[in-house]
Amino acid sequence: MTSPEARSAHNLPERSVSELSADLKRTVEETYARVRVRGEISQPKLAGSGHCYLRLKDDTAVIDGIIWKGSYQKLTIRPEEGLEVIATGRLTTYPGRSSYQIVIDSLELAGEGALLKLLEERKRRLAAEGLFDPARKKRLPFLPRCIGVVTSPTGAVIRDILHRLRDRFPLPVLVWPVLVQGEGAAQQVANAIAGFNALSPGGPVPRPDLLIVARGGGSLEDLMAFNEEITVRAVAASRIPVISAVGHETDTTLCDFAADLRAPTPTGAAEMAVPVRLDLLAQVRDDGQRLQGATRRLLEDRAMRLEGLSRGLPPVDRMIEDYAQRLDDRWERLGTAARVTVDRRAAAVGQLGARLRSPAEQIAAKQGQLAQAAQGLGAVVRYTLKDRDARLAAVSGRLRPDAVARDVARHQRDVTALWFRLGAAAGRSLPEADTRLKAAAERLEANSYQGILDRGYVVVRDETGQVIDSRAPLKGGEAVTLQFRDGTATAMVTGSETPRRTPPRKAGDTRQETLF
C-alpha cells in the first residue's frame, strides 16, 4: 500500500513498464506454453550463431519465429521460403522490443502436396551432391557370407526376408532392430547402417558383406524415415553394399536412389542377395563331371593318336632298306647319266669338228677354185680373140674398096642416063609408046624360035628336055625329041659324024649363040 498523500483520483495501481512487460510475458507464456500453428514460412534466416529466424504468416497476420540451434539440428525438414508448415512451440515476448514471437521446437509439413514438394527439392539437392551417381554404386557380392538386415524386428518384413534366404541359400543373418516410422526412426536407421559399417572384420560380431534396409508398405508419411536426409546419407556413405527394399513396388523413397540396388519388395531383396544354393551345387557338380570327362577324353584322344601314329610307323630296318635301295638306284643312275652325258657331248663335238675346216684348208680349196676359174677364163679369152681374128680376116678379105668405087661410078652413070631418058620420055605421048609397044611385040614375035620353026627349022632336045645344039653330046642309041612347027616326034640317034667347025664363043658369054 502506498501512502495516502500519494493517492490520486485514480484507484488503479500505477505500474512500471517493466512490471507490465513482465506481467504480459508471464501471461503469454503461461497461456501459450505449447501451441501448434499453421502457416507459411517467410524470410527464413540462419544466423551465424546457429539459431534460425523466420516468420510465419497467413493471409492477414504474421508472427515472428525463432528456432534455437539445438532444435534446428533435430528438424526433419529445413525451413524454406513459402513452405506450408505446422510449427509446434511456445510463445514468448521480448520486453526490450515490445514484441512477441514463437519459439519453434519442431516443424512438420502441412499436407501431402507440401511433402512431395519438399521431397522433390531434397532429391534434387542430394542428387546435385552426387549421392545418387551410378558411378557410386557398389557391386554386390556373388555369394555373401553374412547379411545384415536393418528393419523392425517384428512383423512380416523380417520373416519374409529370412524365409526366402533360407530357401535359396542358408547363411548367417544379423538383424539390427530399428523403428521404421515415427519420431527417431530415421536416426535409428542411419545409426544401424553406420553401426554395421563400424564393425571390424575380425571382431566378436561378424561384419556383414551385404546390407538390406527394409520396411513394409505404407503411406508417404509412414515411409518418411527413409526419405530423411540423415538416412539417405547413411545409405550413400555405407562401404558395405546396400539393397533398399522400402514399401511396395510402387513406393519410391530417397533411400532407394542412394542404395546400390533397389528391390521391389523385401522378398525381392532376399532373392537379389543370394543365389540358389542347389543351382550352384548342380553347376559345380556338372563342372566336376565335365572336368573329368574332358580330361579323360583328352587322354584317350592322345592315346588313340599315339597308337594310330605308331601303327603308321614302318619298322626301322625296312625304312633303312628302302632308303638304301633308293640310294643304290640313284648312284647307278648317276654313273650312267654321267657317262651318257659325256658320250653325247663328245659326239656333238665330233660332229661339229667334222664340219670344221682349218683356215689353210679353206684357203687351199679356194685357191684351187680360183686357179680353175682363171684357167677357164684364159681359154675363153684366147678362143674368143682367135675367133674374132679369123672372122676379121675373112671379112677383111672380102672387103674390096675398088669394086665398091667402080659400082658407085657405074651407078652414077646409070642414074645420070636414066635421069636424061626420064626427062626425054616424059616429053613423048602415050600413043607413041603404044605404037612402039606393038612394033616391039611384032619384032619379038618375029624373033621367037616358033618363027624359025615356021620356016622349017627343028629343035632337037635330049631325054631331059635340054636343047641339043651340037653333035658332041649325042651318042648312038640315044633317043631325042624333035620339035617341029606343028608338033614333036621322037627319034633315035643311029650314028655320028665329025662335027662341023663352029666359031668359038667369046669367053664369059653364056648366052646361046643367036641364030640371027
Partner: protein, 85 residues
C-alpha cells in the same frame, strides 16, 4: 572343414564366385581339347581343387540368425539369437 589342408592356399583364399569362374574356364579349355598333355594334367588337378572348394563353400550353408544388441552409444555390443515372431 575336414580337408582344408588338402587345398592349396591360393585356392582356399578364392571367393566362391572366382573359384567357380576359374573352374568353368578350365572345363571349357579342356573340352576344346587344345591343351598340351602336361598342361591338361595340371589343369585337371587345379579344377578338382576348385570344385572341392566350391562344394565345401556350398556345404557350409546353414542358417544362423542373430539380433544385434545395441550399446548406449548406439554401436553393436553383441548378438543374441533371434527368432522372429
Amino acid at each position: 572343414m575336414t580337408d582344408t589342408a588338402a587345398l592349396p592356399a591360393d585356392i582356399a583364399a578364392l571367393s566362391f564366385e572366382d573359384a567357380l569362374r576359374e573352374l568353368e574356364q578350365i572345363v571349357q579349355q579342356l573340352e576344346r581339347g587344345q591343351v598340351r598333355l602336361d598342361e591338361a594334367v595340371t589343369a585337371y588337378e587345379r579344377g578338382s581343387h576348385l570344385k572341392r572348394h566350391c562344394e565345401r563353400r556350398l556345404a557350409e550353408a546353414r542358417t544362423k540368425v542373430e539380433k544385434i544388441m545395441i550399446s548406449a552409444d548406439g554401436t553393436a555390443a553383441g548378438t543374441t539369437p533371434f527368432d522372429p515372431v
